[in-house]
């Protein structure tokens, strides 16, 4: 079921022909028929197959690496260790994409040299005639390790005598927010509540493990076809190999999911090195087990909230500390920590605020981008605290939230004034209504309702000066082409551009060809990350299409003898608005305009609004272009004898600004309902002294199709966003509140709260039994 909000603050008189409609995506047929080509599908003559030697320990000195026997194995064409690499042996793991500034320049060794710092760190690369041969070569490599003392906890890493993993003190990043008068705020409070919440590692578990083929072509250009969210990695590959940027060509075909796991470079640089060394095409398709250690999982966070509230339910002050485990290398940890810091207070206005946040390096797996990017972990803690506060003061939890929601024009945690619509209340109200009545408890089943709201940015950090380009052109026969190097990671990025260009130029999306994912043929569009692909590439495409339309209208106005603004395009026709009988087909228009020498193409750039960073002392400043607001609600059943939690109903209600494709929006809401459910209930990478203990799908439990609850998507449209047609980013926003709502539902069902995720049956059963014991004692 879907609802379109018709609140008075929606922009009226929007007359959209394709945008916002429930249209099959352009990429559906090729995927349904199994024709879509993914990176690992490419087969080339003389192709070699690669394997990577990963460290089997988390913290050790490398005394020696002996590859002499491996190299002699017939059919093995390249064996590389750090000694064979350019002296820098470093690859950028910092913010990739079309960014102009603001990067932290955090580099990571391509291959471990004298030391391994985490379990799975790559040590050697092999290319051979087959995977089996490559594996045999790996087995012949002898690495002499000497284990050293590591540190495996983000708090231990900050102690004075901790082994140093990163920098001088293991501190990868730290932020603070100082706003208002925290002491005065707590004095004004009737109640002060302090709680600590913590969350676990989560694996992206995309359908397609990392895969790529690299080859050097007849022009000595290094080509890489890879499953990546970011084709702009060609620069980092070139820098790592000491090559000019224009000699590395990175293309992304359809990508089988990313969720942040293919944001930072994964396997591309390894293949680049092997292809250059062997001078033959080299392919690597990661096994699922190796995939678990080839990209960074979600950061575990520990978050303490101390909150002051009046008995009427107004938040007077908040003191919040956040600590994340960055693992052995920085990767994107500083940015993820910043997102968590901004998101620490959720969608609530807190004028007296004190936040300290720290990301510490350990010898655990390096953590990295994952849908929600820190905001999700912050939301999970914040929404638990909101629920506990409302319980403390005896107020309905939505009523309590209403008293504190940020409104348009209010400042958020870093003092950024929110300019778009804030429909937290509408979304939360609708989400909760959709749950209906709570089922009655039975012999050993209790039920709970849970709600969570959020504030999630879309678009990248403003001082990165993010840009996106797109090209739209009308062919002589009236067909449309869009060229935009956006990577299509499965969310319908390509299809959305067809819909947007088609809307502007009056051509059905099905008839539009979009060239995507190839950064040397198409204009660079930036990353498919940060909920910015639709926002940025869609906006660039909208602008380019409008340029083309303006050129065409100028010519056609003369033809119809009207002013250009009197014309419109729709149903493959150009027509006079007041007299639609006066029309011409787009096909004839194209021919006519071509004959007149009209410029029927446009390359346009969209620049996100910039800013110059935060005040380091107060943490105040403009961090993001804008934010999405909404809510998720869930009903759970808990088995009081086994602790098993079953999600019965899951409802996402979000102000998406403007849906471009309703099916795609529903897909995002439904997918996030499952992903959030996994985080709340069962997913957790288990590390023992840094060593991964459950790196496979038989041990790491994601929800299956049998675990899907009834899911309802409620789509609200304020048309107030920065994206095309007033859209807001949704990829991450719709995910961020899901786990929190399920966690709150479990707390509602069992009458007590578990502070550390995930809520495994064992933890839930223990909590139920403790609560029983407590009640008996009382």
């Amino acid at each position: 079921m879907n609802q379109v909000d018709t609140s008075p603050n929606a922009i009226p008189n929007v007359n959209l022909r394709q945008v916002g409609k429930n249209k099959p995506r352009n990429d559906s047929p090729t995927k349904v028929y199994g024709k879509a080509i993914y990176a690992g599908d490419l087969i080339m003559d003389d192709m070699l197959f690669a394997k990577v030697l990963h460290s089997d320990r988390a913290c050790a000195d490398i005394k020696s690496i002996d590859v002499s026997v491996a190299k002699t194995l017939p059919g093995v064409h390249s064996v590389l260790t750090a000694d064979d690499l350019p002296a820098t042996n470093a690859v950028m793991t910092d913010m990739p994409g079309q960014v102009g500034g603001g990067t932290k320049n955090t580099k990571q060794p391509i291959l471990a040299k004298e030391r391994v710092r985490f379990y799975g760190e790559p040590i050697a690369l092999v290319a051979a005639e087959s995977y089996e041969l490559a594996q045999r070569a790996l087995d012949l490599i002898v690495v002499d390790y000497e284990d050293t003392e590591g540190v495996y906890d983000a708090f231990d890493a900050q102690k004075p005598d901790a082994p140093i993993v990163y920098g001088n003190d293991n501190i990868v990043a730290a932020y603070k927010v100082r706003k208002g008068d925290i002491e005065k705020g707590f004095q004004e409070a009737d109640f002060v509540l302090e709680n600590t919440y913590s969350s676990q590692y989560q694996e992206q578990a995309f359908l397609e493990p990392e895969a790529a083929v690299a080859w050097v072509d007849e022009h000595d250009i290094l080509n890489i076809r890879s499953s990546t969210q970011v084709v702009e990695h060609f620069r980092a590959v070139a820098d790592a190999l000491g090559m000019p940027h224009n000699k590395v060509h990175l293309q992304a075909p359809y990508v089988g999911g990313g969720f942040g796991g293919k944001e930072v470079m994964t396997i591309e640089v390894w293949l680049a090195l092997l292809a250059m060394d062997a001078q033959r095409p080299v392919k690597l398709k990661q096994t699922r087990e190796n995939s678990f250690i080839s990209h960074g999982p979600r950061h575990p966070f520990t978050i303490t909230h101390k909150t002051g509230v009046t008995k009427d339910g107004k938040i007077t002050a908040a003191k919040i500390t956040l600590t994340s485990d960055a693992g052995a290398y920085a990767k994107l940890s500083p940015y993820i920590l910043l997102y968590a810091t901004v998101g620490a207070t959720g969608p609530y206005r807190v004028d007296n605020l004190w936040i300290d946040s720290t990301s510490a390096a350990t010898n655990n797996l390096p953590t990295c981008a994952y849908r929600g990017f820190g905001t999700m972990q912050a939301t999970t803690a914040c929404e638990a605290q909101m629920e506990e506060l409302s319980k403390l003061i005896g107020l309905d939890s939505l009523e309590f939230r209403r008293k504190n929601f940020i409104q348009t024009g209010d400042p958020n945690a870093t003092g950024q004034i929110i300019r778009s619509a804030v429909w937290s209340d509408q979304c939360a109200t609708k989400a909760r209504e959709a749950l209906g009545d709570k089922p009655k408890s039975t012999e050993h089943t209790v039920y709970g309702h849970g709600l969570a709201c959020y504030q999630q940015s879309y678009g990248r950090i403003r001082w990165m000066k993010d840009t996106s380009e797109s090209w739209v052109g009308l062919e002589m026969d009236g067909t449309l082409i869009v060229r935009c190097a956006v990577t299509d990671i499965g969310a319908g990025q390509m299809s959305a551009l067809a819909q947007i260009a088609g809307e502007v130029l009056g051509v059905p999306m099905e008839e539009i060809t979009v060239y995507f994912g190839d950064g040397h043929v198409n204009p660079l569009a930036g990353t498919s990350t940060a909920s910015r692909a639709l926002y940025m590439t869609g906006k660039a495409t909208e602008l380019a299409a409008k340029n083309v339309r303006n050129n065409l209208f100028e010519c056609m106005a003369e033809y119809f003898d009207v002013r250009p603004e009197e014309l419109d395009l729709g149903d493959s026709k150009v027509f006079v608005q007041d007299n639609p009988e006066r029309c011409m087909s787009v096909k004839d228009m194209a021919k006519h305009c071509a004959a007149q020498g009209v410029h029927r193409h446009s390359l346009e750039i969209y620049r996100a609004p910039p800013s110059e960073g935060l005040d380091p002392e107060t943490g105040q400043g403009e961090v993001f272009p804008d934010f999405t607001y909404g809510a998720h609600a869930a009903t759970v059943a808990v088995d009081t004898d086994t602790g098993e939690v079953t999600v019965i109903k899951s409802v996402g209600a979000h102000d998406v600004g403007q849906s471009i494709n309703r099916q795609a929006v529903e897909g995002q809401i439904e997918g996030s309902a499952l992903m959030g459910q996994g985080f709340a209930l069962s997913e957790e990478l288990i590390l023992e002294k840094g060593v991964l203990k459950n790196g496979s799908f038989s041990e790491y439990l994601i929800p299956t199709s049998e675990d899907v609850p009834e899911i309802e998507s409620i789509i609200l449209e304020s048309r107030s966003g920065l994206g095309p047609f007033g859209s807001k980013g949704i990829g991450e926003p719709v995910f961020s509140p899901v786990a929190a709502s399920i966690v709150n539902a479990v707390a509602d069902a069992i009458g007590t709260r578990i502070h550390h995720l995930p809520l495994t049956p064992e933890k839930v059963l223990t909590a139920i039994n403790e609560e029983k014991t407590k009640e008996a004692a009382e």
Binding site: T642, S682, T704, P761
Partner: protein
């Protein structure tokens, strides 16, 4: 590695008996292929028994059913006779893996893989099922309890194959049930499994019972004390409570990432109690 798919049982036994190195029997392959691909095992010979006709049949015998070793879970699930007689065994077998896995996985394979957490085995033990084994020395029948001797270990001799499982006849007013605990709905290895089979007299009093637990010891357990406390009762609350206590008391599980000793012990009692209730309802008809 040599792969053979003989069409007769004699040929299969001869191949296995004559094998020089390590040999494995392949039925559905849902365990064996995973072990092969991961490199956990490297047999010199794999003998596929799916081409042997007699192993692909379900036959009525002495009021019970003989299930061939190559019969898949999906085929078993579609057999109305077995479903009616031993619904708990069928539901246990159908819990192995997923719909796709069901198309291949077999009860005999589940038994011979010798995992203490095998789903179908507690149900077979509760059913007092017999495994028929054929080897170089001929045919022998043995209780399914005696096939697995420890995790991954069986009592099968060189060249021996489990060719069928026999589910015996049972009195009217009998029922069985199997329950498994995993943290999600499918595709996982049991944290605990519990099977109960009961027979009732005309008054509805339990006259015979068997209780079996999986994943709580090195082998699947037969819990005699659990059966004892049910017999002579109508499975009232006290009897069920006593069953739960007996089940928990029988457990000697390990701590691992799937569950702690305490949790497994606790949940074994819960599942035994619930399985008994379902078996009782089925017996009453």
């Amino acid at each position: 590695m040599q792969y053979e798919a003989p069409q007769t049982l004699d040929a299969a036994v001869a191949l296995l008996a004559d094998a020089r190195g390590a040999a494995r029997v392949l039925a559905g392959g849902t365990d064996l292929l995973v072990q092969l691909r991961s490199g956990a095992i490297e047999p010199d010979l794999v003998v596929d028994i799916k081409r042997i006709d007699e192993l692909k049949k379900i036959t009525a015998e002495d009021g019970g059913y003989r299930i061939g070793a190559a019969v898949s879970g999906a085929e078993l699930g579609e057999h109305e006779g077995v479903r009616a007689l031993w619904p708990g065994v069928v539901e246990a077998t159908e819990l192995i893996g997923s719909t796709q896995v069901q198309g291949r996985a077999t009860m005999a394979g589940n038994l011979c893989n010798a995992s203490p957490a095998a789903d179908s085995v507690p149900a077979m033990v509760a059913a007092d099922a017999t495994a028929r084994i054929v080897g170089p020395d001929g045919v022998r029948d043995t209780s399914v309890r005696d096939v697995a001797t420890g995790p991954g270990q069986t009592s099968l001799g060189r060249g021996e194959i489990v060719v069928s499982i026999f589910l015996p006849a049972r009195p009217a007013r009998s029922g069985d049930a199997y329950l498994r605990f995993i943290p999600r709905t499918e595709m996982d290895i049991a944290v605990v499994g519990a099977a109960v089979s009961v027979s009732l007299d005309d008054e509805g009093t339990c006259v015979a019972a068997r209780v079996s637990l999986g994943a709580v010891a090195a082998r699947v357990l037969l819990v005699d004390e659990g059966a004892r406390v049910l017999i002579g009762t109508k499975l009232d609350d006290d009897a069920l409570q006593a069953l739960a206590a007996a089940a928990s008391a029988a457990c000697s599980p390990i701590n691992d990432k799937r569950g702690t000793i305490e949790f497994r012990t606790d949940v074994a009692g819960v599942l035994a109690r619930r399985a008994a209730q379902t078996a009782f309802e089925r017996a009453k008809g």
